[in-house]
């Protein structure tokens, strides 16, 4: 360094790069993950929960009898460990992974389409992925290998939807409005197909609400692992495109003049976002608005640099979905409601807010 140039003044209007925000978000999420197992459908004393967690995390060296002092159910301490570790924590991890996937997909889609309202749910990519997954369940395809076949079909559904949107975006009517309307139409259509399929499935009526409203229940670590692996790989790849997304905000031509292969990058990003979305929705069904809200939250606190927005949206998305799960348990103790209800509850007003505010300024995030 050793240069006499003074650092540029920062103003409130345009927050600078704030990488430290990522650290804060990550730490907050970690703490939330650790304490969330306290909440659940069955009452377990918080101290017991924390002891079990530490016992499991330390590989059994800490708290050799984690249930000591509390009321132990008939299934014994092993039963409690199963509830806390296998059921709750896997559910929590899935919430985080799914939220992260949806968040980073939403951030990417907003950048690719240069539109603050883009989101995997609103554009129908979530519906496409869910439809793909539901086909596997309804027609009992590869029952023994369902944990692998399910995401595969979800990918096909999500990427197919993404391709339709890409074509719509590229047509000469490819305005922002066309894009959103195409997405909304696709989304409704695919949801309708999905509902019909579930109601009249050869396997008998399935839980429609599970798929249409999103659900974190009845999961295992394998599903967690698959979702986690795909979201991690695709999400990491997405996060490496922060700079290109920054440049794409100037318009594809300007980005190209600066050295970005706009067309190739946009196709790649849409593909990766579709894969990430598919992994997120394959086991949980449609969860709305996480992808829409999360990137905007990051923009507010950390500025609009996509190198921060993308990982930040993943962290906020994970936290958002986890918070939805926890709030659901606080508000309705004893039952885990479909998680999509809570995200839509928070997300829909936010969407309306963005929609109305957008008339004033065409800025995407920070006003």
């Amino acid at each position: 360094m050793g240069v006499t140039v003074a650092p540029p003044p920062r103003t409130a209007r345009a927050p600078g790069r704030r990488s430290w925000v990522l650290g804060v978000l990550l730490a907050t999420l970690g703490v939330a993950v650790f304490f969330s197992p306290i909440l659940g459908t069955v009452a377990v004393p918080p101290e017991t929960v924390l002891r079990i967690l530490l016992h499991q995390v330390s590989g059994g060296t800490l708290f050799s009898d984690p249930c000591a002092g509390g009321s132990v159910p008939a299934s014994g301490c092993a039963g409690l460990i199963e509830i806390v570790w296998d059921a709750r924590l896997s559910e929590i991890m899935l919430a985080v992974v799914v939220g992260a996937g949806l968040g980073i997909s939403g951030g990417t889609l907003q950048g690719v389409f240069r539109n603050p309202l883009a989101d995997p749910f609103l554009l129908g990519i979530s519906s496409g992925g869910t439809l793909g997954a539901a086909v596997v369940v309804v027609f009992r395809i590869g029952v023994s290998e369902q944990n692998l076949v399910l995401p595969l079909f979800a990918f096909v559904g999500a990427i197919g939807t993404g391709a339709v949107i890409l074509v719509a975006a590229r047509s000469r009517f490819g305005s922002v409005e066309t894009l959103l309307l195409t997405g909304v139409a696709l989304s409704s259509f695919l949801s309708a197909v999905l509902a019909l399929l579930l109601l009249y499935s050869p396997a008998g009526s399935l839980q429609v609400d599970f798929w249409l409203l999103g659900n974190l229940g009845s999961l295992d670590w394998t599903q967690d692992g698959i979702a986690f692996g795909v979201v991690l790989v695709a999400g990491t790849l997405l996060a490496t495109y922060g700079r290109e997304l920054n440049l794409l905000q100037l318009g594809p031509d300007v980005a190209q003049s600066l050295g970005v292969d706009s067309r190739k990058v946009r196709v790649r990003l849409l593909l990766l976002a579709s894969v990430t979305t598919a992994a997120a929705v394959a086991f949980t069904g449609i969860i709305g608005f996480v992808g829409l809200v999360s990137p905007h939250v990051v923009r507010r606190i950390a500025g609009s640099d996509y190198r921060i927005v993308l990982p930040g949206a993943a962290l906020v998305g994970g936290g958002f979905l986890l918070a939805a799960r926890d709030l659901s348990l606080v508000a309705f103790p004893g039952t885990l409601l479909p998680i999509g209800i809570f995200t839509s509850f928070a997300g829909a007003p936010f969407f309306a807010y963005l929609l109305f505010r957008r008339r004033g300024a065409s800025t995407m995030g920070v006003p």
């Binding site: 209007r13 970005v260 923009r299 800025t363 995030g365």
Partner: protein, 433 residues
Amino acid sequence: MTEAPESALQLRGVTVRFGERTALQDVDLEVPRGQFVALTGPNGSGKTTLLRAALGFLIPQAGSVQVFGSDVRRLSIAERARRVAWVAQEENPRENALLLDYVLYGRYAHLGWLQGESARDRDGALRALRAVGLEERAGDGILSVSGGEKQRAILARALVQEAPLVLLDEPTSHLDIAHQLDFLTRVRELSRERGVTVVSALHDLNLAARFSDRIVVLSRGRRVADGAPADVLSEELLARVWGVVADLRRDPRTGAPYLLPHHLVPPSTAGPATFLGKGPVHVVGGGGSGAPYLRALAEAGYRVTAGALHLLDSDLETAESLGALTAVEVPFAPIGDEVRERLRTFLEAATAIVVAPFPVGPSNLPNLEEVRRRLGQVPILLVRRAPGVEWDFTGGEASALEEELRHGGARSVDGTDEMLAALAAGPVAPPAQ
């Protein structure tokens, strides 16, 4: 590729079609290093298409585009970005990036995969912001600065891109006059200081003439004129390419030519032979009597000459504002020989002479004497004088001359419409004597 090519940009026989429409037709253009070229032409003449072809954004149906000796289509997108920078007419960024970051975007093509900008890049960006007078605003959001500041930030970005060729597409069309001058002054300075080659589409011919080393004119996809501003800009070019009648002047301070547009070439007269307008018609007047006739003639597409007039005469002002050539004498002095000689050349060049109802005294009587010399050789229109207005201050000499003109075949007209009608009726046959 090995030897340093002399030309920054070279187009050979470039033809671009969009469906049925031909946007560029067999265009050759060679831009040497360091030159500031203004690319101009009417709307739809192919300026933007040429720039986009130079950027490799579109593939010509025929011909080749080379930047610094390499075919632009064979360069990778990043390689191209290191050689050619682009400043669009207007950018509409969708995210509120810091100005500093906005400028740093220009470093993209120089950075490796996932490589962040170094402190050196940042210093370079700050220097570039200083060069465009924006260092104070480095920490502001791009969406909060004015249009002029945004264009300057984009120019700074082009600087850190370190491309030796900068293409600008109407960079000033959304700016007010002060920002236009400011922006182009900076572009020219930067081009001279850094030896950067600049090719800029510019609507405004006067700005083009003022700032560029060379003007290239496109019309319907063809290069129709090319050269130094003083050589290229002409009334003839404006009439031919833009269909506009204008006067060419010279800026007394910079010496740059500038055009003063008047009106469109009238459709009835549009054509290669008549594009310069009809005439010239000479108007003899004074004391404001000639002004309506001068204006009406100019409006109808006639070129006009006027005189002899005295300095400070309001007719002189009108004539000059219309771009007319004039014969001028100092106030109150009798028309001297030199001025009389000039008047004579105007009268001899004129296709018609209009005598406005001007007051005649001994000092400007030579006007009528000179008009009399043309009697029988060119149509003369005498504007009828209002009755009861005293105008002859020569003791009857002027009245006698007018009488002589009338009898010799000069036609009396009443008002500007009748004058135009008489002129349009064609060359009134010189009266048979």
